[in-house]
Amino acid sequence: MALALAPPALLVVVACVQIVLTHRTGLTPWKGGGFGMFATTDGTQFRYVRLFVDAPDRSEELDVPPSLEELAARAQALPSTGQLERLARAVAAREQRKRRPAETVRVEVWRIDFAPGTLQATSRLLQQHQFHVHGQMDSTGR
């Protein structure tokens, strides 16, 4: 009978870790096994990713291409340095494949806040990360 307690115990552990991750890494409350769905507008529906590529004679914002949508969705849900770095590297690799110059790739994750009462919508930067194609990376938090 004691073994029957193992799955509920696992649920509690994962849900507690999820709460910590939402506060420390910006994980959306909708994901991660903490049962925060349908509790807040801070879900992936109201988060979005912006991609910027810079090179000599080039400074451009890119649309998220279909091939990178899944990586972008992961970065939206969990804007950790690791997820943003993966997305930035994938953007850089794609630019190289297309033979377009790219020295730095900046990934930004934004969320939309709704004001109490009026529901006036405003965008807020959650996390950004810069990837230097030939060098280091740097991130700034929320």
Partner: protein
């Protein structure tokens, strides 16, 4: 001898068969995971449906738990919460099938899993979320989420044009920008009522279910447990587009029924297939179209 522990149930498994079969149906109805996980889940769930010895084998359910956990890791952080619950549930089934009597441990796991899932959902809504209790979440979601559009128009009288106008209003402007003619937000009393009912009705229902499933009282409130869980599933999943969650909750509710509670078991099975119909028939959209056609 050792293998037999994992391939045959430890004891009487017949009362749990329906519960396991409905779980296998859910696994087949909502295929999940990358290419190296999905076909194995489908194969095991399909075999469990047609072969009783596979259905009752602890190893099959432990393997399914591992496969669902593998899907969670492969797709991290994107899977929805009910996929986690499904992994715990498959694990609970695998462990219970090794017991001398399968029903009691399965019922205990089911009761605690339901209670804890609702407790954490309640914690998020009532304490951790900054925009649930003031009604913002449902006011925004009911307007913006296309999956609720039919029901919103049906229940509040908002037209498709007004809904679109409100969606425009809820779009953020670039920093510093101002529109010459900003869109108005149309929020009729019926919409306010719907958003308020959803906000506080959901909260009350989740609080009641968490309390009924977690507090250590047994027979006196047992029927209330079932009534609240059935009501939650039928009301919520008529609108919420997450049939998989509803099926799982119903299966775990069913796992707590005694074999002689035939009416209750029937209610769970009926609700299971009702949610299937809700998920496959756009009933609200069809009603809106029908009403518009009749005008």
């Amino acid at each position: 001898m050792y293998m037999g522990k994992w391939t045959r149930p430890g004891g009487e498994a017949a009362p749990a068969e329906l519960v396991l079969r409905l779980t296998a149906i859910e696994l087949l109805l909502r295929p999940m995971g990358p290419w190296f996980i999905k076909p194995v889940i489908l194969l095991l769930a399909g075999l469990a449906l047609i072969l009783p010895q596979v259905l009752r084998a602890p190893a099959i359910w432990l393997a399914l738990a591992l496969l669902v956990a593998g899907r969670l890791l492969a797709d991290w952080p994107l899977p929805d919460n009910h996929i986690y619950l499904l992994a715990y549930w498959c694990l609970a089934a695998g462990l219970a099938l090794r017991a001398p009597d399968v029903r009691p441990p399965l019922a205990l796991s089911a009761r605690l899993l339901v209670g804890l899932a609702f407790l954490f959902a309640l914690l998020w809504k009532a304490v951790l979320s900054p925009d649930y209790l003031d009604g913002r979440f449902f006011r925004v979601t009911l307007m913006m989420d296309d999956r609720f559009a039919g029901a919103v128009m049906l229940l509040t009288g908002l037209s498709a044009e007004q809904l679109q106008q409100n969606r425009n209003y809820l779009q953020p402007l670039p920093e510093g920008a101002e529109l010459l003619h900003p869109p108005l937000f149309v929020e009729p009393p019926a919409f306010r009522w719907l958003a308020g009912s959803a906000t506080y009705g959901m909260l009350a229902l989740e609080a009641a279910i968490a309390m009924l499933y977690l507090l250590p009282w047994h027979s006196r409130f047992e029927s209330a447990r079932h009534v609240f869980l059935l009501a939650f599933c039928v009301l919520t999943y008529a609108f919420a587009p997450v049939a998989g969650f509803g099926w799982l909750l119903l299966v775990m509710g069913l796992a707590q029924c005694n074999p002689e509670q035939r009416l209750l078991r029937f209610a769970y099975i009926l609700s299971y297939f009702l949610i299937l119909l809700f998920s496959e028939i756009p009933w609200a959209d069809l009603l809106v179209q029908g009403l518009e056609g009749a005008r």
